[in-house]
C-alpha cells in the first residue's frame, strides 16, 4: 500500500517513541503517506491504522484535526496562503486577489486544469517574511509580490 521507502521513513519515526507508544508516530506516518499519495484516502488512513496498531477512527480523528492533512484530493500543487494579521498588514489581501485571478479558483478550490489548489492558511511562524505562502506543505516562500507569484507558478508548471 505504501512504498518501501515510505515504510522505512515511518519505521524511523516509530523508533523515536517508547516501544509501547507506536501511536505517537501517527502524525509523521500520515505526513509521509500524504507526500507519497498526494492526499489521504480512507484506504491510506486504514493502512496507517493497521501499520501502527491503532483503531481506524483514531487515525481519522488525527487526519481531520490538523490543518495540513488533505482528506480530499488536491491539485498537484497546493498553495496555502497565510492571511493572518502580519501578512494581512503587508499585502496578503492583494496576494489573495492576485492568486485567485491567476489560478481561476478561490480558497478551498482547485484550478480547472487540476494542477493548483488554493488554501487559506493561518500564521506560519514566518511573519518577518510576510506575506508568506507554503507550497505542498514543505516549501515556504516569503515577501510575495505579483512578480514573485508569477515566477513561482511558472516554475511549477
Amino acid at each position: 500500500m505504501l512504498s518501501p521507502d515510505s515504510l522505512a521513513q515511518i519505521d524511523h519515526e516509530i523508533a523515536k517513541y517508547p516501544a509501547d507508544q507506536r501511536q505517537s508516530a501517527v502524525m509523521s506516518a500520515l505526513r509521509i503517506a500524504q507526500v507519497e499519495k498526494g492526499w489521504l484516502a480512507t484506504e491510506t488512513m486504514d493502512f496507517v491504522a493497521d501499520y501502527l496498531g491503532m483503531p481506524t477512527i483514531a487515525v481519522y480523528e488525527v487526519a481531520t484535526f490538523y490543518n495540513m492533512y488533505d482528506t480530499a484530493p488536491v491539485g498537484k500543487y497546493k498553495i496555502t496562503l497565510c492571511t493572518n494579521i502580519s501578512c494581512m498588514l503587508t499585502g496578503a489581501p492583494e496576494m489573495t486577489e492576485y492568486l485567485k485571478r491567476k489560478l481561476g479558483c478561490g480558497f478551498g478550490e482547485t484550478s480547472e486544469d487540476g494542477r493548483f489548489t488554493l488554501k487559506e492558511g493561518e500564521c506560519m511562524g514566518a511573519c518577518g517574511d510576510s506575506p508568506v505562502c507554503m507550497i505542498n506543505n514543505h516549501r515556504m516562500e516569503g515577501f510575495l509580490t505579483p512578480e514573485k507569484v508569477d515566477r513561482i507558478i511558472e516554475e511549477l508548471k
Binding site: K16, M27, V62, T90, E122, C123, G125, N137, M140
Partner: protein, 424 residues
C-alpha cells in the same frame, strides 16, 4: 528579514554555517555541559543559578523557569520526560524558527542540561508544522550532537544518558498549549487537558514532564557558562537576560531583534527601521495576537519587559511586536484575529467553541456594514463570558483582544455601525 545578533542566543548568527556543531563549539558551545559533567555540579546548584538569572518562560506566560524546574520530582523512579515547545503559531511570532535554523545546538545543549538537572532520559522537540526546514535542520543537528557524544548513552563518558527526538506537527495552533501538545505527541487530537494535574506530575504518557519554550532552553547554556548573575544584569530585575523580539507589520525592517530586556520600545522601533515609508504609528500588539492592543502614544512610553507592558494593560507574551500604521482599520484587524480563534478553537468547551463563533460573526457583520447599535455591548458580553471559563487559555486569548480593541478604538466600531463603512 533582519536578524540582529545579541549576546545570548543570536551571538553567532553572523558567522557562515552558524548552525553547525563546529561553529557552535568554536564559540564556547557545549562548554557549559562539559563543566557540569566534569565538576559533577548538583541539580540544586543549577536550579539556583537559573533562579538567580530571573529567566522567565519565553513561550508567552513568563513563568520563572528555575521555579518550574524545581517542581519536577527529580528522584521519581521510572520514566520522566523533557519536552520543548517549538510549536510557534501565535500570529506575529517567528523567533523559535530562527533559533532552530541558526543556532540549533543552543537549544540542544539547553535541553541536555535541563535533562541532567531533572534526571530525565528522554526528550522531544515538538516543531510547528509549517516550518519543515526547521525540522530538517534539527534532525541534522541532533545527529551531529549524537556523533560527538553529547547525546545518547553515557554522554561524554559519564553515566548520564539522554535521548532527544524531533516531532513534527502538522498545522494546529492549539498544540502550542502545553497539554494539547502532549496529547498530540501521544498521537491524538491536540485537545488541552484539564489542569491540575500539571505536567510535572502527569505529563507525557502520564509521566512527570517538564515543558519549556525553545528560547527558554536556548538561554540555558549562557546562564550556566557565564553565570545567572551576568544573565540577570543583561536585563533588569525580575526580567533577566536578552529577549528576541519578532517585529512585523508596518516597519521598514521586519525581523528578529535580540536585545536586552527593558529596552525602550522607541529604540526597538528605530532598530526595526522605523515606520514603513515614514507613515504614522497608530497601534501595537506587543506580545502576539493574544495580547491586548496598545495605542501608539502609550506604547512609546513602554520599555520592553514583562512589567512595563503589563502596566500598559497588555502582556509581553512571546515578544511578538506587531506594528500598525494609521491606514489600518481596527474593525478589520479584529475581524481577522477573531476568525483565527474561531478557526483554531479545539471545540472542547462550550464558552470557547460557541463564543469564538459569536465574536467572529458579530465583528464580521460590523465590518461588512451590517452592525447593530447593541453589537458593542454584545461583544463585550460574549468576551466576558468566555474569559476564565474554559479549560485552556485560548478562550482568554480570543476574548482579551476584543475588550482592548473596544476600549481603545470604540469610535471606529461605532463609525462602522453608523455609516456602514470605515473611518480610515
Amino acid at each position: 528579514m533582519v536578524i540582529k545578533g545579541g549576546e545570548v542566543i543570536f551571538n553567532t548568527v553572523h558567522l557562515p554555517g552558524s548552525w553547525k556543531l563546529s561553529t557552535y563549539v568554536a564559540n564556547g558551545g557545549y562548554s557549559a555541559l562539559r563543566k557540569i559533567l566534569a565538576d559533577k555540579i548538583s541539580a540544586e546548584t543549577i536550579i539556583a543559578e537559573v533562579k538567580k538569572s530571573a529567566l522567565r518562560g519565553r513561550g508567552g506566560a513568563g513563568f520563572p523557569t528555575g521555579l518550574k524546574w524545581s517542581f519536577m520530582p527529580r528522584h521519581f523512579q521510572g520514566d520522566k520526560y523533557l519536552v520543548c515547545n517549538s510549536d510557534e503559531g501565535e500570529p506575529g511570532t517567528f523567533k523559535d524558527r530562527d533559533i532552530m535554523l541558526l543556532n540549533p545546538h543552543a537549544l540542544i545543549e539547553g535541553m541536555i542540561i535541563a535533562a541532567y538537572t531533572m534526571g530525565t532520559q528522554r526528550g522531544y522537540n515538538y516543531i510547528h508544522g509549517e516550518i519543515w526546514e526547521c525540522y530538517e535542520r534539527m534532525e541534522a543537528a541532533i545527529e551531529e550532537a549524537k556523533a560527538a557524544g553529547f547525546l545518547g548513552d553515557n554522554i561524554l563518558g559519564t553515566d548520564f544518558s539522554f535521548h532527544l527526538f524531533n516531532h513534527h506537527g502538522y498545522g494546529a495552533y492549539i498544540c502550542g498549549e502545553e497539554t494539547a501538545l502532549l496529547e498530540s505527541l501521544e498521537g491524538k487530537k491536540g485537545q488541552p487537558r484539564f489542569k491540575p494535574p500539571f505536567p510535572a506530575s502527569f505529563g507525557l504518557y502520564g509521566k512527570p514532564t517538564t515543558i519549556n519554550n525553545t528560547e527558554t532552553f536556548a538561554s540555558i547554556p549562557y546562564i550556566i557558562r557565564e553565570g545567572g548573575q551576568k544573565f540577570l544584569e543583561l536585563g533588569k530585575p525580575n526580567n533577566g537576560g536578552t529577549k528576541i523580539f519578532s517585529v512585523s507589520g508596518h516597519v521598514n525592517k521586519p525581523g528578529n531583534y535580540e536585545v536586552p530586556m527593558g529596552m525602550p520600545f522607541a529604540e526597538l522601533l528605530e532598530l526595526a527601521g522605523g515606520m514603513r515609508n515614514g507613515s504614522t504609528f497608530k497601534a501595537c500588539i506587543p506580545g502576539g495576537s493574544s495580547t491586548p492592543v496598545v495605542p501608539a502614544e502609550l506604547m512609546m512610553q513602554c520599555t520592553m519587559d514583562y512589567d512595563s507592558i503589563a502596566k500598559a494593560g497588555s502582556a509581553l507574551g512571546a515578544g511578538s511586536v506587531i506594528i500598525m500604521d494609521d491606514t489600518v482599520c481596527m474593525v478589520k484587524a479584529l475581524e481577522r484575529l477573531s476568525y483565527f480563534y474561531f478557526e483554531e478553537s479545539c471545540g472542547q468547551c462550550t464558552p470557547c467553541r460557541e463564543g469564538t463563533g459569536w465574536l467572529y460573526r458579530v465583528v464580521h457583520r460590523i465590518e461588512h456594514g451590517q452592525g447593530r447599535p447593541e453589537d458593542l455591548d454584545l461583544l463585550n458580553d460574549v468576551a466576558f463570558n468566555i474569559g476564565g471559563r474554559t479549560i485552556c487559555a485560548l478562550g482568554d486569548a480570543a476574548a482579551m483582544p476584543v475588550q482592548a480593541m473596544l476600549k481603545h478604538y470604540r469610535h471606529e466600531f461605532e463609525h462602522h455601525i453608523e455609516h456602514g463603512k470605515c473611518m480610515v
